[in-house]
């Protein structure tokens, strides 16, 4: 039992604020919420919308169609009415859409003027309209509004409350035909992937972050800046992404736990620095938040198009670990895990997310944000004849940092065990092999794919990263409809434990299951990787690359109609 509410309008009309207030109010009322924004690359105008899917059970995906659509602009009705279900309640602002058929025209901006004194508050009227249609105690909304406008003064709080209340009063009888989920039971904490990564990084002991703003990665660095005082960290906006990654190289060399965050274009500029971190064996951590490319592409949309670039990017050969969380909760855990991996193996780690995971919020069990720094594994007793790149069996050498007793030397050229530049070709081989040996450890330490669904399923969805939720919903839907289908979620996409993964794919199925690889790109990148690794042989890719996230429904339908 779920219902999807969509509020639409121009950038600058406060759609996002209204949506956030509503989503949190609903979560406070104990409902399961899955709220995602869809926005354009502009500051004012255009068409943005905010979806809030509400349920009495945990949600993992958005929905393409809405059950309630409210738009503050004519454009919103025009574009989105087609995606409102036949039973849906469609609400337009009288001021903009007088004669739209199938629409309920409410005087939203008029009410904003009357109740709040300005039509800028139409967003809170809209929030009230929506909440008024729902069968939950409106006090939850009032409380959220109070919090949201607290910093703007009592006067503003009152006006916005008045707007919401007046909005709620406009809705009599409008939603009588709709069925609503019952409230109660859900975690009231709503969390986005962005916040989760930020919290993970702060709790893990990140002390320095340098980045250049780039959608959809900017949020991570903004989150860190917001909490910089509290956690005693430095956040610096770099002049470009090259500076950002090289600053992080410098900072990790000096011994700080550090990160940078960017999207595809910025990651491209970091490729040389990534290679440097491989050569110098620095625990560099890069958050790569994807959006559709090539080039500038669609800056505010979502994609999973940079996997192969992350795996093969940077010149030369060196080990790296790549994680791809499926939910905010997992994003929190994997941020910590990625940092730990980077430090354990003195190798770069990349966390791949995308606009979808970065921005959507859903009920999440409280995260342990307490300061629990990962073990940086810095040696405090380097000893007399310390050598930074000592040859070891597992490839990991004792790591000291400058300022202590030993001199620490790191070189981007091929180097000897001490860290000095060398052109000795046997030393080259020794050091190269040493570096590459670390990959074995990374593999052993890697996260096995997570199965959801029956162990003996003969149909299997393979997913990586943010499409976890939609796939999971599809599995549930399909199994309810009589399929025997499971999914395997890859939260770590590189390097891969080949044999274990083969076993995990087979599960208890009598024969090799039929595979569908769900990916947000047009070339089935992960499937290609699995094929190259000898893990799978054939598969049906299910691909999407128009910039929108998958939904559970569309995956289920695609598999069913296959």
């Amino acid at each position: 039992m779920d219902i999807n509410v969509r509020i639409a309008g121009e950038a600058g009309q406060g759609i996002e604020t209204a949506g956030e207030v509503l989503a949190q109010a609903l979560a406070d009322a104990g409902l399961y919420v899955f709220a995602a924004k869809s926005y354009m690359s502009r500051i004012r105008g255009g068409l943005n919308w905010y979806d809030i899917r509400i349920s009495d059970q945990a949600l993992f995906s958005g929905k393409e169609n809405s059950d309630i659509l409210l738009s503050l602009t004519a454009e919103g009705i025009k574009t989105l009415q087609g995606k409102a279900g036949s039973q849906a309640v469609v609400i337009a602002d009288k001021a903009t859409a007088e004669n739209s058929s199938g629409c309920n025209c409410l005087d939203i901006s008029g009410t904003a003027k009357t109740a709040g004194g300005s039509k800028i508050m139409a967003n809170m009227v809209a929030a009230g309209v929506v909440f008024g249609m729902l069968p939950y105690d409106i006090e939850a909304l009032s409380q959220q509004i109070r919090q949201a406008f607290d910093s703007k003064g009592e006067e503003m709080v009152k006006k916005n409350l008045k707007c919401a209340e007046s909005g709620a009063e406009l809705t009599k009888g409008l939603s009588d035909k709709l069925l609503f989920p019952q409230s109660g039971g859900a975690d009231s904490f709503l969390c986005s992937g962005t916040e989760a990564v930020g919290m993970g990084a702060l709790s893990a002991g990140v002390k320095f972050a340098s980045a250049y703003p780039m959608t959809p990665a900017t949020g991570v660095i903004t989150y860190l800046a917001k909490h910089a005082r509290e956690y005693g960290i430095v956040v610096e906006q770099a002049e470009d992404e090259i500076a950002a990654v090289n600053m992080v190289c410098g900072a990790t060399f000096a011994g700080a736990c550090a990160l940078t965050a960017t999207s595809g274009g910025g990651f491209a500029l970091m490729a040389e620095g990534l290679s440097l971190s491989g050569m110098m064996e620095l625990p560099v951590f890069i958050v790569l938040s994807q959006r559709p490319g090539p080039a500038t592409g669609l800056p505010t949309r979502t994609a999973q198009q940079d996997l192969r670039f992350a795996v093969h990017g940077g010149h030369g050969e060196f080990p790296r670990a790549i994680f791809a969380p499926g939910t905010p909760e997992e994003a929190f855990k994997l941020t910590r895990k990625a940092l730990a991996t980077a430090h354990t193996f003195q190798s770069p780690a990349i966390l791949m997310m995308d606009q979808f995971l970065a921005d959507y919020v859903t009920n999440t069990a409280p995260l342990n944000t307490a300061y629990r720094p990962i073990d940086k594994q810095i040696t405090t007793s380097p000893g007399e004849d310390y050598r930074r790149y000592k040859i070891t069996e597992n490839g990991v050498s004792p790591r000291a940092v400058p300022g202590g007793d030993a001199l620490v030397k790191a070189d981007s050229d091929e180097h000897d065990a001490e860290g000095h530049i060398t052109e000795n070709l046997s030393i080259r081989i020794e050091q190269h092999d040493k570096r590459m040996r670390k990959e074995k450890g990374i593999i052993e330490d890697s996260i096995a794919p997570m199965r959801y669904g029956p162990q003996d399923a003969q149909e299997l969805i393979i997913n990586w990263g943010s499409s976890y939720g939609p796939c999971r919903e599809a599995v549930d839907t399909l199994n309810e409809r009589g399929h025997g289908i499971a999914m395997l979620h890859f939260a770590q996409v590189w390097p891969l434990k080949t044999e274990e993964i083969k076993k995990a794919i087979q599960g208890d199925a009598p024969s090799w299951p039929e595979l569908t690889c769900v990916e947000g790109n047009s070339t089935a990148q992960f499937a290609g990787l699995l094929k190259e690794q000898g893990i799978i042989d054939s598969r049906k890719p299910l691909l999407k690359y128009n910039g929108m996230p998958f939904t559970g429904i569309e995956i289920a339908e695609a598999i069913e109609s296959d």
């Binding site: 002991g205 002390k207 320095f208 340098s210 910089a228 005082r229 005693g232 960290i233 430095v234 610096e236 770099a238 002049e239 470009d240 090259i242 500076a243 950002a244 090289n246 600053m247 992080v248 190289c249 410098g250 900072a251 990790t252 060399f253 000096a254 011994g255 700080a256 550090a258 040389e272 620095g273 440097l276 110098m280 720094p373 990962i374 073990d375 940086k376 810095i378 405090t380 940092v401 400058p402 300022g403 202590g404 007793d405 030993a406 001199l407 620490v408 030397k409 790191a410 070189d411 981007s412 050229d413 860290g419 000095h420 530049i421």
Partner: protein, 266 residues
């Protein structure tokens, strides 16, 4: 001094820089365990390997961001860049500009031989008009850049020039820079490249280089700009500009609360 054999050409100005550096480190009483030498790639950039200090010999052009990261991570370290003109002014130009805006507490010794040495003699951003190379067979047509003037207009802590042919003066400068505790300090060191720069030779420099008179007030920005613009007949050496602007690190709340830096070893 280090065990590492140098990869420089006999007669190269880099040797004077190295020897003078060793003297200056001693004279300034620098604890080498606390000293981090950062460089990019080039002949000059090999410098850190030839002395004893912590070293970060990073990517071509990226000495400054690496040094910035190191200084922020542990502001108790003495972070000194020793790198080339191509490295710092060419590939690394954007970092130079923004390090100046930051006034980050890093000292940069730029071995300015007005040429790309390691890649065998292409023009550098400071090459003279008309300088002929294999890649510029018609001669350089881009104006040489003026890093010192850039430092002045962006009000960095210290702007100076030295010449390897005047070792006493060079040592004096180095001692001052190594002991300097303020913001970004840029020392442009004129360094003949005997292999690829047949124009700006020891003789050429010697005929022009002239220490700045004691009447110059380095806090006078206009006067400093005028000095920084001089090149034709006389090339002034010495402290050209000095500012009291606070270094970047001192403006970061997190560092105030972590006097030992951000690198707790766990």
């Amino acid at each position: 001094m280090s065990q590492q054999e140098t990869a420089w050409c006999p007669g190269c100005g880099n040797f004077s820089i190295l020897n003078t550096f060793e003297e200056a480190v001693k004279k300034a009483g620098i604890d080498r365990r606390n000293l981090v030498l950062v460089s990019g790639i080039g002949q000059a950039a090999k410098f850190p390997h030839y002395t004893e200090a912590n070293l970060f010999n990073g990517l071509h052009g990226r000495a400054l961001p690496a040094a910035t990261g190191i200084k922020i991570a542990n502001h108790t370290l003495n972070v000194v860049i020793t790198s080339g003109d191509g490295d710092m002014y060419g590939e690394g130009g954007n970092h130079l500009l923004h390090a100046m805006r930051r006034n980050i507490g890093v000292k940069a010794f730029v071995h300015n031989n007005q040429v790309y040495g390691l890649t065998k003699g292409q023009a550098s951003p400071t090459s003279e008009w008309g300088f002929h190379t294999k890649l510029q067979p018609e001669g350089v047509i881009n104006a040489p850049m003026n890093p010192l003037a850039m430092g002045i207009i962006h009000d960095i802590s210290l702007v100076a020039r030295a010449y390897v042919g005047d070792r006493e003066h060079l040592r004096e400068m180095m001692v001052e820079f190594l002991s300097h505790e303020g913001g970004f300090a840029l020392l442009d060191i004129l360094q003949p490249c005997v292999s690829f720069n047949k124009l700006n030779t020891y003789q050429w420099y010697s005929e022009r280089v002239q220490p700045i008179g004691s009447d110059h007030d380095p806090c006078d920005r206009q006067a400093a700009l005028e000095l920084a613009g001089q090149w034709e007949d006389t090339i002034p050496t010495g402290i050209i500009y000095r500012s009291e602007r606070e270094p970047f690190e001192s403006l970061l709340p997190a560092l105030k609360e972590a006097p030992d830096g951000l690198c707790e070893k766990s």
